[in-house]
Amino acid sequence: MKILDHAERADIFNEDEKRVDWHDETLWWIRQKRDKSAHQIPEWENLRNAASAIKSNTLSNLHDYLLEFEKNALQNGVIIHWAADAKEHNEIVYRLLKEKGINKMVKSKSMLTEECHLNEYLEHNGIEVIDSDLGERIVQLAKEPPSHIVLPCIHKKKEEIGELFHEHLGTPKGNADPQLLTEAARVHLRDTFLTRKAALTGVNFAVAETGEIVICTNEGNADMGAHLADIHIACMGIEKIIPKREHLSIFLRLLARSATGQPITTYSSHFAKPRDGKELHIILVDNGRTRQLGREEFRNSLKCIRCGACMNTCPVYRRSGGHSYHNAIAGPIGAILAPNLDMKQYADLPFASTLCGSCSNVCPVKIDIHDQLYKWRQVLVKEGYTSTAKQVAMKTMATTLSSPSLYKLAGKAARTTLKYAPFMVNNKFNAWYLQRDMPKVPQSSFGEWYKINRKNNEQ
């Protein structure tokens, strides 16, 4: 089965214009909430500078910080695991559950586990996984991946959610009231929390200085799972490290405001030690991160704190939807992380952009996202991940544009064709023409006009 690329998927997404408007307006509204929140903090740009500098320092000293984190966590009675890739990560989780004879687990949001396809792996091996974040539970029931890293089912209308809940949770047919649906989820998941012996969470920040991890939620699902389970497994990419506890002040001031405009998530839970008689495991995952760390032009993408602000502001993301990026992480940040994992599969993503630069300017850690998109394009072309047709067209363009006489000839030919044989251009093979008129043909080019009207200044 051919895997559609971003443009093809975006094309399909745009078949329902009203739905695109709804998706776009919802996410723009969230961008506006972020703006309002940011504008209430006079030192906002200084916070971004500090966050960026802390993350740069982290990446430049990551080896020692990882050792420091491990040492402190071990001292706290935490068990540390290292996974080179997704496969190893999944195997570690499975082994930990099997060792304890556990075959049902409750999970709170972790984009890393999406990246590793953990749920599929565990289900395939006889472990039931229930996602407890409401948005994640919804897409789990719908058998879809999340479309946004913070708002997993932003692409779903409440009527669709109502249908799902009617089918799976027994809510009244046709009921789409968010209050009622959330209450149903609360009751359904409360039972899950109370009965599961294993809880798996992600990690927002891991503090090298103390060995503690911080998990931020609005729903309280990470805590409900972890504090009731016998084993808490926390999964993190190695880039989630921050040097000191005091740095949390910077990141916790920026994270929720950038993501949704809230001053902070309802819960910012700091886990240092396991509960008495229980276990806390942390899995440190590479899965391509060390390779990205070695890419001078792209390593700054590892500063990401997964706030999603870039997705909310991206005019292309808002009008194509997260699923168009066919990757665990969509949007601008997804487009600069994914090619590192698989250039062939994700060669389309850096081109799904007008390079407008909005993303880089909402990013709380000042990742130069739009510059990296440009740079990935150069890499992907050099590595050969571009169509032959495009290569030929570009070579022709380069030749034409390097020669003044060829350029003038080509320009005149284009204008003449458009003027006298518009049907050659105004047809369905011309992508521009599908929904836009062509420009009008002027009497002459500027160069031609200048020759006649300003002869004296000709060089």
């Binding site: 919802t26 969230i30 200084n46 916070l47 500078n49 500090a50 500098a53 802390i54 740069s56 320092n57 430049s60 990551l62 706290n76 290292w82 080179a84 190893e88 974040d133 409401l134 948005g135 708002l151 997993p152 932003i154 779903k156 209308k157 409440k158 959610i161 968010p178 209050q179 959330t182 989820a185 609360r186 998941l189 109370l194 103390t210 609005n218 729903e219 309280g220 409900m224 504090h227 009731l228 190695i238 040097p243 506890r245 005091e246 949390l248 002040s249 916790l252 001031r253 949704t260 001053p263 902070i264 998530t265 309802t266 819960y267 240092a272 030690k273 060390t290 390779r291 760390l293 390593r299």
Partner: protein, 195 residues
């Protein structure tokens, strides 16, 4: 070479030249005004409730007037709340807290800029209590309302807690078409008393 050594070696080989950490001093300045007002405004704005009281007795009378306390399972480690609390948690099994309606807890301090309160294991009878309870009451001293998160972490210092949390409001979600619903998986409501 095992995973750990492999990963660490790759990190060491690929990490860039060292860049310095920034100074955070400037973030402490100019924040000290109208802290109680700010805290109240922010927490009210994110779904919580704030009441300033003269003393702890006032809290008890307010709670008596607001909840049917004799039909409610109320848990509180505070000696001042023993008149209305029923601290029957002898088996230290968090699951036994499932039917707690009201939990009345102290918080070490509050943060004005975002309406958050800090609790750690030293004041939690069980880590799950503030989440599993249907309704959460927090009591903070007025003088312990700090301006920002920078001040918060300065106050926490290098405390070696096993667990701690900032709690800023009732649990909530907006996952269904961005409609805000209070009461997701944690407490349905949060009421902070500044005493």
């Amino acid at each position: 070479m095992n995973n750990r050594d492999q990963i660490l070696a790759a990190v060491k080989a690929n990490q860039p030249d060292l860049t310095p950490l920034p100074e955070l001093d400037s973030f402490f300045q100019g924040q000290e005004t109208a802290l109680i007002e700010k805290f109240t405004q922010v927490l009210n704005g994110i779904g919580g409730k704030v009441t300033v009281v003269a003393d702890v007795e006032e809290i008890i009378s307010i709670l008596k007037a607001s909840y049917p306390l004799d039909q409610t399972r109320v848990i509180s480690p505070l000696s001042s709340m023993q008149e209305i609390a029923n601290n029957n948690i002898d088996n230290h099994d968090p699951h036994a807290l499932e039917n707690v309606e009201l939990a009345i807890l102290p918080a070490h301090f509050a943060v004005a800029e975002n309406g958050a309160c800090w609790l750690d294991e030293s004041i939690l009878p069980d880590r799950v209590l503030p989440f599993i309870t249907q309704h959460l009451i927090l009591i903070v001293n007025k003088v312990d309302v700090l301006p920002t998160m920078h001040h918060a972490y300065e106050k926490i210092g290098n405390e070696q807690y096993g667990y701690g949390a900032f709690i800023a409001g009732p649990s909530k979600t907006a996952d269904i078409e961005q409609s805000l619903v209070l009461g997701a998986h944690g407490a349905r409501s949060l009421w902070v008393f500044l005493a």
